[in-house]
């Protein structure tokens, strides 16, 4: 820790020292490693009691699906959640950092966090990094001033909307929203619309797939419905069964049942930390 009287902020930002070297390498035919992106369809909408957020669960590394069931809806505050598209590491790091800052702010003010506070902290950070932090976010929550829904682009611009979509599947999802959305929908209608929009992204966009996560935030309460829909179940059972090829003689059959896995149940809620 520094011994100076004044708290000097740490020198942040990216160091671009290796750019020339990387340039030279790519000119000589060395391909840069691809990073894990969340191809993604993320959506959010405002209904009569609050906000509903939805996301798919596929994470891709180029043409490979690296995570079939990842979590794209991130916790920011007890009353604010954020969906993230773009580079998975960037969305995780940025939402965790701002969630931490919001917690400190809550201790100091003694009040519930507001969505605009999260919005401003996120956009300031993203603008500072001039778009190099590749995180496209849909931020939604309910605070004292009412329900709010915002989109944040990697360069730091924001929109405030009644319904929003982001990610590679955003056009597929937006098509569903534009035709079906109306103001003041009920909870069931809202969840169904969000699921339809995400499924439209799952089935029509290669970057999105697997399951649907939904998060419903109302005044004083939130429901995180992890894997609310599983339209792509895992069904790899070989109908012929397993056996040896015909030429092999079976000498001995011994079946050893595997030890039962121990389930560690931790006290407390999994989502809120």
């Amino acid at each position: 820790m520094s011994k100076s009287m004044v708290d000097v902020p740490p020198k942040g930002g990216f160091s671009f020292d290796l750019c020339k070297r990387n340039d030279m390498l790519s000119r000589n035919g060395v391909k840069p490693p691809s990073y894990r992106k969340t191809g993604t369809t993320i959506v959010g909408m405002i209904f009569q009691d609050g906000v509903i957020l939805g996301a798919d669960t596929r994470a891709t590394e180029g043409p490979i699906v690296c995570d079939k069931n990842c979590e794209k809806i991130h916790y920011m505050a007890p009353n604010i959640y954020c969906c993230g598209a773009g580079t998975a590491a960037d969305t995780e790091a940025v939402t965790e950092m701002v969630s931490s800052q919001l917690q400190l702010h809550r201790y100091h003010t003694g009040r519930e966090s507001r969505v605009v506070t999260a919005l401003t902290l996120l956009k300031k950070h993203l603008f500072n990094y001039q778009g190099h932090v590749s995180a496209a976010l849909v931020l939604g929550g309910v605070d004292v001033t009412g329900p709010h829904l915002h989109t944040i682009y990697p360069h730091g611009s924001t929109d405030t909307l009644p319904f929003a979509t982001m990610g590679s599947g955003s056009l597929a999802a937006m098509a569903v929203f534009e035709s079906e959305y109306k103001e003041g929908m009920t909870r069931e209608e809202g969840i169904k619309l969000v699921c339809d929009a995400i499924q439209s992204g799952i089935f029509n966009d290669l970057g999105s797939g697997s399951n649907v996560d939904v998060c419903v935030i109302t005044k004083g309460q939130k429901e995180y419905l992890r894997n609310h829909l599983l339209p792509n179940p895992y069904s790899y059972i070989n109908p012929k069964g397993y056996g040896f090829p015909k030429k092999i003689e079976v000498l001995l059959t011994k079946i050893t049942p595997l030890r039962e896995q121990v389930h560690v149940i931790e006290g407390g809620e999994a989502m809120e930390e």
């Binding site: 009287m5 965790e96 931490s100 100091h108």
Partner: protein
Amino acid sequence: MGDSQYSFSLTTFSPSGKLVQIEHALTAVGSGQTSLGIKAANGVVIATEKKLPSILVDEASVQKIQLLTPNIGVVYSGMGPDFRVLVRKSRKQAEQYHRLYKEPIPVTQLVRETAAVMQEFTQSGGVRPFGVSLLVAGFDDKGPQLYQVDPSGSYFSWKASAMGKNVSNAKAFLEKRYTDDMELDDAVHTAILTLKEGFEGQISGKNIEIGIIGSDKKFRVLAPEEIDDYLREVE
């Protein structure tokens, strides 16, 4: 004081081997309002007098007991503004620990880091030590814990402790009354009785502050009405 020649610079030892500024800091603490803490079998209670300089001060706006994390609270004796600075730093350290290790900070770790901050200010140029002693109360996997942190940066774990004006009487009273198998409610009553010993004037829910943490691991400051209920039970 014979050591006065060596009391101009914080970073200079006196011939008797003391750092005089820290002794003075402890004096500042000793003239602050009484505060105490008691560790029960199933929780911890911390309490302090809340004597305001005038009846015109809005006592609801003064909060001497503060929350550091959902399961750790702290009270002080000494200089209020120094306390505010330490609370801010400690909260930030607890959050940084959580960001790094994804677990709530254990009480001992937070006490250690706060004590390290206080020690820094006894070995740097141009700064003075903090004029507060802290009582940190927390409940984590190791059970209920109570720590005292001094301006020098030394910390001790206590079963029951007191600081501030009436410290010797309060500690004697606690020594007599403390039992290892106390329940949290008994501990609150004992805390109130200890505060009452040295209290000038009429004790009420508005001029003392009490914070408790039980097996639910959630630290909270009692409302004045709840304190009044306990006061009635004590009588």
